[in-house]
Symmetry: C2
Amino acid sequence: MSWNIKEVGFDQHKIIHRGNQFLIGHLKLGVRGTLDEMRKEALVAVHLPLVYDQVGDGWREPVNAFNPLFTQVFVNGVEVGVMHQNPYEHEQNLSLKDAVMSRKSAFHIDGNDIVIESKRFVSDLEERAILVKYSVTASQPCKIEIKTGIDGDIWDIHGPHIEKVLFSEADDVLVASGVSHEKKNQITVLKSIDCDFKPVQETINKEDKGIYKLIEIDASAHQTYTVDQYIHIGVDEKDDVLKDRLHHLAYKGFDQHLKRHQQSWLKKWDIADVKIEGDEKADLSLRYSIYHLLILAPSRYDHASIPARGISGQTYKGAIFWDTEIFMLPFYLNHDLESAKKIIEYRIQGLKGALEKAKSYGFKGAFYAWESQDDGHDACTDYNVTDVFTKRLIRTYFKDKQVHISGDVVYAMMMYMKRTGDYEILHQGGLNVILEVARFYLDYGHYAISKDRFEVWDVMGPDEYHERVHNNAFTNQLVKMVFETVLNVENYFIHQKSPIFEELVRKMDFEDELKTIKEIISKVYIKEVNDDLIIEQFDGYFKLKDITKKDLFEKKLHPNEYLGGQGLAGDTKIIKQADVIAMLYLFKEKYSKQIMKANWDYYEPRTEHGSSLSASMYALTACLTDNPDYAYPLFMKSATVDLTGESKHYAGDVYIGGTHPAASGGAYMTVVHGFAGCTFSDQVSCIPHLPKSITSIRFKAHHLGKTYEICVKKDTFDIKELTK
Amino acid sequence: MSWNIKEVGFDQHKIIHRGNQFLIGHLKLGVRGTLDEMRKEALVAVHLPLVYDQVGDGWREPVNAFNPLFTQVFVNGVEVGVMHQNPYEHEQNLSLKDAVMSRKSAFHIDGNDIVIESKRFVSDLEERAILVKYSVTASQPCKIEIKTGIDGDIWDIHGPHIEKVLFSEADDVLVASGVSHEKKNQITVLKSIDCDFKPVQETINKEDKGIYKLIEIDASAHQTYTVDQYIHIGVDEKDDVLKDRLHHLAYKGFDQHLKRHQQSWLKKWDIADVKIEGDEKADLSLRYSIYHLLILAPSRYDHASIPARGISGQTYKGAIFWDTEIFMLPFYLNHDLESAKKIIEYRIQGLKGALEKAKSYGFKGAFYAWESQDDGHDACTDYNVTDVFTKRLIRTYFKDKQVHISGDVVYAMMMYMKRTGDYEILHQGGLNVILEVARFYLDYGHYAISKDRFEVWDVMGPDEYHERVHNNAFTNQLVKMVFETVLNVENYFIHQKSPIFEELVRKMDFEDELKTIKEIISKVYIKEVNDDLIIEQFDGYFKLKDITKKDLFEKKLHPNEYLGGQGLAGDTKIIKQADVIAMLYLFKEKYSKQIMKANWDYYEPRTEHGSSLSASMYALTACLTDNPDYAYPLFMKSATVDLTGESKHYAGDVYIGGTHPAASGGAYMTVVHGFAGCTFSDQVSCIPHLPKSITSIRFKAHHLGKTYEICVKKDTFDIKELTK
């Protein structure tokens, strides 16, 4: 059972990937896994998730703070570091157990062996604090100069976001501050430096774009010189609070903070860890996936949910997608109910934005943001991709046609209530969400008179390569589910003898719509299977060109060209990601194994898996159809996407790199709900589908107020209720 | 009053344009106005309209026959002609009065003045006959060789269409024959040659791709040597018929045939001519427009209507578009009722194809072909344009989304009945067309429950730059008109005490649909004007980017790049052609002058006039709003498009050149219905709107069984009924 992600050797070409791979932080502070001596070119980011800013017409994205990690070392005047010399030894490590990143690099410099080591963590207990222990050792006496401070040259995609930048120093604390453009958030980075030795000289260097301390050392051979760095990043905090916080960090010191931090992490793992026996790689990869879900837990924050690229940077505009509800929520429902609740609450708070969005398109009800920022503002633009041939923006339809997002929100809310029994959420705005989403679908969809059915035209399903389709199987199923939810919730309140539902219906002037829903619910067009048991993804899909993925890719004229819409895939059967298969998984109780299998066999060869959301849906359905060995490679693809870095870095000309928490969530779901086949209804049960290499899976999970310890083996399983 | 189109001087760059400009023929034979010595590189075409053929996956298009016009002259062994020397004198003439094209070119060859003259016409009385008088004169004695015959090297866009090609000679008749791929049409070209002198020697040259007669002359100075050429082109004609026809041509001779041909043309002009006084250029340009409509008259042919590029070649697949119903029919309704009836009958015969097309898209009823060939087969492909950057085909939506075509057909039928009083057409299949189109719209459109209205989503209006829009003002108005027509026709039959309507409704199982039409007819969504009296072209149009045409064009990276769809215009307010304005013209009785004016002022600056259909709709509405001087330049644009050659030759990478009969029709409409303001209801009347330069307009017109002579001056008009 391994807890460490270690990479040995340094590769210039993997700098960006390692930045994602060795990410640490929490939902208020992401620190990319770059090295101390790196700058913006290496995509260093001290990232402030959920603190959004827009500059001019640029995309609105979260702010990156100044970089207080920057530390440079000179040996006899020669700058030493991976950006200047090839280390003869190099390793970087992420300890999953306590979320500590460390690195060690050794260089030959004029016959002198120089070793740089550092260790950093983002305290799990403090507001926004980074603690770094940095040391240098030389094999021969030499002059060493350590330059450490705050680099103000920030990597931004659509920045610069911070203006009125000031660098200052007082009482041995380096300070960089400024304000964001849009909301004038005050961003302050404070850093104090503590040496375990007496330097020959210390000076403060205030530069154009940064402030640094220069520490000069007459180094003895084999003596290690260690510099502890205490960093606090403030967002809209007062000066005295900022100083207190920094003082608190430095006063207790690195080791004490680390100890408390480790205890906090120990608790997280106690409930969240999943142990896979028989397959060490699967075990570590899943643990790494869970690590990402743990650093992203929104439990402690209000008005927060999880961005699609987590806390790894500004890509995807730092926005929240359906990824969170459909691919991540299941993890929190099992292990962290506070986070699960925050995810639901975030959308309740986002209702206002969803109402405004629907209205802006001429529809009633709630049309949730495709890329949700703040309280539901849609950051998605009409142009998400650049044409590699003309360098012009391509009109995309993620924002205005991917209407399934509203249904995903309701689906998640229902999951939450079924798993927690917490129906209070309905009183806290949840019921409004359900009714407003139903109202939206009722207005967006329409009654096809001749066909006597309720249809939904002009949408985009999860497969984004096919734009503006009619009667997408996935979307229509969600629409029906939302209408059913309205009636189920009405029954719930009738059963409770509560007037709440009736009152809200009256208040919302929803009487006629409720009546209409009852009339048309049986007429919502749900696509039937054809003679081969296949469900057509949308009207006309079967008539598209049938081409292999290989043949399609061979037609590419540019490696990053966009395949969707008018691109190469648009008029073919090749799909970007699970669509019918995602529907079959979400609505698994409605379909037989035979149907699931037939559709899997039909759609899988036609799926690019060009989204990291895709593989897990295929893996889960493979388990449901008794094919865990088909699922296994897809599971590994999801679980290792941020370990291998083998993901798409470009959509058209737009950089879309970063971590993939939905893939992490999908990997988790595959193990617990697929391989272990764990189901939670009135009872907790399992239908084991272990792939060949796995002998057992052990984990804990909450369900309806209780906590269970579950162990699944090839043909048996054991479920034990834990006493509180 | 001028009757001649004359161009003086030869310009290599205008060869293709002259081919269109000097076009002669009729609906079974188009002869491009190229010169005797030209070959396929000059786009010579002896074109067989409505004889369609498809080769492999290429576009289905009409067949071009072998070229029997080819005639070459050698003077002392030197080839003489415009492709080899610059003529010191050159003129080309089209006599509109009798549709005779002539040319004269003079060359200096080694001090010898060589004059080539020729005159050709396509007999208006024979099946498919071309008669040519060709002569050579030298100023000094010399050896002249004339090579004339049938050039088998055919210009094709998606050919070659003729296989099993044979060249032969018998009884002094040259023959080229072969069969088309698809339908195995037998194409035969026969040519006999008659010299008015005794040649030194005559020989037959059979070449790889052609058969020729070589005529050697010992030429005296200033002696003109004339060669008459008799050509018959047979499509599926038997050998003896072919020979008889050719014999008939040669036996009577060029002059006699010409005389009869001229008499025939005299009759056409008697009823069709429009005399404009005060503005010679307008007078000639309009006459030229009418000339084109006369050569295209379908009166004598069954299963025929007028292709969008007339008989000028294979562009636009030789197919029939809405151009015919909306832009050409009005001419025939005034001047040639047999042709008008053929145009209506063509669509009745096309009903089967329209039913099949609707079915192929999952809809009931009649969805007419966007590009209609044969009996209603849609030749339109899903890929009509090539991306100039990637050379890939672009998915276009002309075929599947331009649903207004079905309404255009019904609109035309109503016009026909109102103008002729010929309601018999309803019994002859017209009623079926109306009901099937209504059925189609009822199925294509839908009931928007929350908005309580009947909407039509996912269409393309006349403005083809905006694809897949919802509630296009033009389309929705047509849909409502079709529903109204159903009810009007029902009333007509009730009034007639005829059971026909009721019987057909029963036979078609149309009872429920009729009931639904009555329920929803008042709910068809017709866009209201906004506060500025503007009608939004489609849902969301007002939110598109407002940009000037100039700024848009400056963004082009390639002169021929396609502007529609994902192209530069797609997300702007720039439209290709009249859309709301076309709707306002077609439904002028429903809108005030104020509304028309406001929309004209709003949309005109945003209209590219990238289709030759556009200018006339703006010209007509300018007249309706008392602005004939705004209309005048737009009228001239329509009337001269094939004189100046200033039209689009490319859409993306696809050649779309040829003549523009819909612009000719639009020019005609502007003069008669715009400037003269002639209206035909129970009475014939006029509201003169003469532009400054025009003092009077005189013409004849049929209406409800009578013929009128109409003269419109600045403030007065005179309408006289002619005795038969």
